[in-house]
C-alpha cells in the first residue's frame, strides 16, 4: 500500500506574500497569482509580474487540473516508520511553466506514469491547506513530452 505522503509534515511558514496560496484550499480551490496585464500565472508568488513587470498581480482560482511531469516513490526513512509515498511534479493545466512539487494520492506506486492527468485535493494541517493531487478517474495518460 502506498501512503498518501510522509507520516509527519513540516509546514510552511505563512507570511503576507504566501498566505493566499497556503490558505487557498479552505474553499476547495487552488489559486495562483495572475497578471492583470499579460494574463500569465505566476508561481512562486512574486512582488510584480516577472513576465511583463506590471504591478498587476492578484490571486485567481484555477481548475485544479494538471498533468504529472515526473514523480518518484520515496523509500528512504527520512521520517521514522514512513511507508513509501509518491512525490510528484505536476504541471497545472492552465500554463505549462507552472509546476508544483506535491504528493500523488489515492493511487499505487505501480500505477504511476508521467503524463497522468490529476486533480487537486487539500491536506488541512494547522493553519495551512497543502495542495496534493489524485488521478482523474477514467482519464487517459496523455503524451506529456511537451508538458
Amino acid at each position: 500500500m502506498t501512503a498518501s505522503g510522509p507520516p509527519f509534515r513540516l509546514l510552511p511558514r505563512v507570511d503576507d506574500s504566501n498566505r493566499f496560496y497556503w490558505t487557498s484550499g479552505a474553499d476547495g480551490h487552488l489559486r495562483f497569482q495572475r497578471c492583470g496585464d499579460c494574463r500569465h500565472y505566476v508561481h512562486p508568488p512574486a512582488p510584480r509580474c516577472p513576465y511583463c513587470l506590471a504591478d498587476a498581480l492578484a490571486p485567481e482560482a484555477v481548475s485544479g487540473r494538471g498533468v504529472v511531469h515526473s514523480y518518484t516513490v520515496n523509500m528512504q526513512q527520512w521520517f521514522p516508520d514512513a511507508e513509501p509515498y509518491i512525490i510528484g511534479l505536476v504541471t497545472i493545466a492552465e500554463q505549462d511553466d507552472v509546476r508544483l512539487t506535491t504528493n500523488i494520492i489515492d493511487t499505487e506506486a505501480d500505477d504511476m506514469a508521467i503524463g497522468m492527468e490529476v486533480e487537486v485535493d487539500f491536506v488541512e494541517a494547522e493553519d495551512v491547506w497543502l495542495p496534493v493531487f489524485r488521478p482523474v478517474a477514467g482519464a487517459a495518460v496523455t503524451n506529456a513530452a511537451a508538458s
Binding site: G5, P6, R9, L10, L11, P12, R13, D15, N18, H43, P44, H69, S70, Y71, T72, V73, N74, M75, Q76, W78, F79, A82, Y85, I87, L89, D97, V98, R99, L100, T101, T102, N103, A109, I114, V128, L130, V132, A144, A145
Partner: protein, 407 residues
C-alpha cells in the same frame, strides 16, 4: 571573444593539497582545512606569507551540520594570513565558484596567490546527529519549541516529504527515462566506473568491487535512484592555490592553466521550475564555457563530472557535448568508453560516489593530478593535456577547462 579578454587565462592552479579523507575522522573542519592548506601552499612552492588572497565555498555556517566548512576569517586567523582580497559564499556557479572568483581576483591584480578551500565534515556530523536531510538548503525557522516552519524554496518541497536532493533529482532521472529511454543498467555505469577507479585510489572511501548485480539489488532511496546512485558523505578538505600566470615559470610543479570557465544560468534558478528538467543549469554553464575557448569536447582527455548523484554525471556528459542530448545512456553502455583506458576517462579518482563527497573540489584536485601525470595507478595514459571539471546539479552549475600548457 578575443583571447586577451579571457581573464581566467591569467590564472593557474599552482598548488593542490588534501587533508586526511575518511569517515568519522572526528577532527574539526578548521583542523582539516589547515592541513590541506599547508600541503597546497608547499606544493605551490610558497609559504603562508606569500598567500594574499582567500576564498571558499560556502563557509560561514550554511546548511546542515558538517556542510559549510570553516568560515574564511577563521582560516585567515589560524594561518595569520595578511590578505589583499577575500571572498566566500554559497551562491554562484557551483562549488567551484570560489576558484573562479580567485581566478578573476588574480587577473584583476587584487591578489597574487589565493588559497581556495572546500571542507566537509558531514560524516562526523552524521555520526553525532543522525542522517541529515531536512533543511539542507537552509530555510527553516523555529517557532517557540514546535516543529520548525519552512520558508524560501523549502516551503515548496518539504511539506510533501520531498526533503532531500535525492527526491528532487530522482524526478530528473524518471523524466530522463521517459524522454530518452534511459535504463537503470545504463545509469549504473556511472557508479560502476567510479568504483573501478576508486579501487586504484588509496584514499577512496569504498574500494571493494561493485558489480551490476550489486547495483540492481541495492535498496531504493527514491525511485529510480538506489543507494549506489547517491554519493557518500565523508570528512576532508581540499585546497588549491590560484596564482597569477606570471608565477608559472617559478612554480616547482607543473601548473594547471585555466583555459575557460562556464558560469551561466539562463533558466529559472529553481529545482522544480527550471524549463528543462533534463538539463537544468548544466546546459547554460557548459555552453558559456565553450564560447570562451578554441578547444572542443573532442580535445578533452579527462572528464571530472560531478556525481553527487549518478544522474547528474549523465546530464553533464550531454550538456558538455560528449554525446548528443538524450544519448548519455547509450554513450556509457557497457562502461568501456568512460573507463580509464577508454576514449573519455571519467571520474578517475572514483568520484563522490566511491571516493567520498568532497563536494566538487575533489574533481578539481583530481584533474590537476591527472594533468601533472601524478595519478598513480589510476593515471590516464598518454600525458593528458586537457581536463574538464564540472560542479553542481539542478539549478547549480559551474565548469572549468584546464590545460597542461598555456593556451
Amino acid at each position: 571573444m578575443r583571447a586577451d579578454q579571457l581573464l581566467e587565462r591569467k590564472a593557474v592552479i599552482s598548488g593542490i593539497g588534501q587533508s586526511a579523507v575518511g569517515r568519522r575522522l572526528n577532527r574539526s573542519d578548521l583542523d582539516l582545512t589547515v592541513e590541506a592548506a599547508l600541503v597546497a601552499i608547499a606544493d605551490a612552492g610558497l609559504t603562508r606569507d606569500d598567500i594574499d588572497g582567500l576564498s571558499t565555498y560556502p563557509g560561514m555556517g550554511m546548511g546542515p551540520g558538517g556542510f559549510a566548512g570553516p568560515a574564511g576569517p577563521d582560516v585567515q586567523d589560524a594561518l595569520r594570513l595578511k590578505l589583499n582580497w577575500h571572498d566566500g559564499g554559497g551562491e554562484g556557479p557551483g562549488q567551484i565558484r570560489a576558484v573562479m572568483a580567485a581566478c578573476l581576483a588574480v587577473a584583476a591584480g587584487l591578489a597574487r596567490h589565493v588559497l581556495v578551500y572546500r571542507t566537509v565534515t558531514e560524516s562526523t556530523a552524521q555520526g553525532k546527529g543522525g542522517r541529515q536531510a531536512l533543511g539542507g538548503m537552509g530555510g527553516m525557522t523555529g517557532s517557540g519549541g514546535g516543529p520548525p516552519r519552512m520558508m524560501g524554496f523549502m516551503q515548496w518541497t518539504i511539506p510533501f516529504g520531498a526533503v532531500s536532493a535525492t527526491n528532487w533529482l530522482a524526478q530528473v532521472a524518471r523524466r530522463r527515462m521517459y524522454e530518452f529511454g534511459l535504463t537503470r543498467e545504463q545509469l549504473a555505469q556511472i557508479a560502476l566506473n567510479g568504483r573501478r577507479n576508486a579501487m586504484l585510489n588509496p584514499i577512496a572511501i569504498f574500494r571493494e568491487p561493485l558489480t551490476m548485480e550489486d547495483y540492481l539489488a541495492a535498496r531504493m532511496i527514491s525511485t529510480p535512484l538506489c543507494l549506489y546512485d547517491c554519493d557518500i558523505p565523508c570528512d576532508g578538505s581540499t585546497a588549491v592555490i590560484v596564482s597569477h600566470v606570471d608565477y608559472a615559470p617559478d612554480a616547482p610543479r607543473s601548473v594547471a592553466h585555466v583555459n575557460a570557465i562556464g558560469t551561466a544560468i539562463r533558466g529559472r534558478p529553481s529545482w522544480d521550475q527550471f524549463d528543462d528538467m533534463t538539463t537544468m543549469a548544466a546546459r547554460d554553464a557548459a555552453a558559456s564555457m565553450w564560447k570562451r575557448t578554441e578547444l572542443t569536447p573532442a580535445d578533452v582527455d579527462v572528464a571530472e563530472l560531478y556525481d553527487g548523484f549518478s544522474i547528474l554525471t549523465m546530464t553533464w556528459l550531454e550538456e558538455l557535448g560528449f554525446c548528443g542530448k538524450g544519448e548519455s545512456g547509450p554513450f556509457v553502455e557497457g562502461g568501456e568508453r568512460i573507463a580509464l583506458g577508454g576514449e573519455l576517462p571519467l571520474n578517475t579518482s572514483g568520484g563522490q560516489l566511491s571516493a567520498g563527497r568532497l563536494h566538487g573540489f575533489g574533481f578539481l584536485h583530481e584533474a590537476c593530478l591527472q594533468l601533472r601525470g601524478e595519478g598513480g595507478a589510476r593515471q590516464v595514459a598518454g600525458n593528458p593535456e586537457v581536463a574538464v571539471v564540472a560542479n553542481g546539479g539542478g539549478p547549480i552549475a559551474g565548469t572549468m577547462l584546464l590545460t597542461r600548457g598555456p593556451a
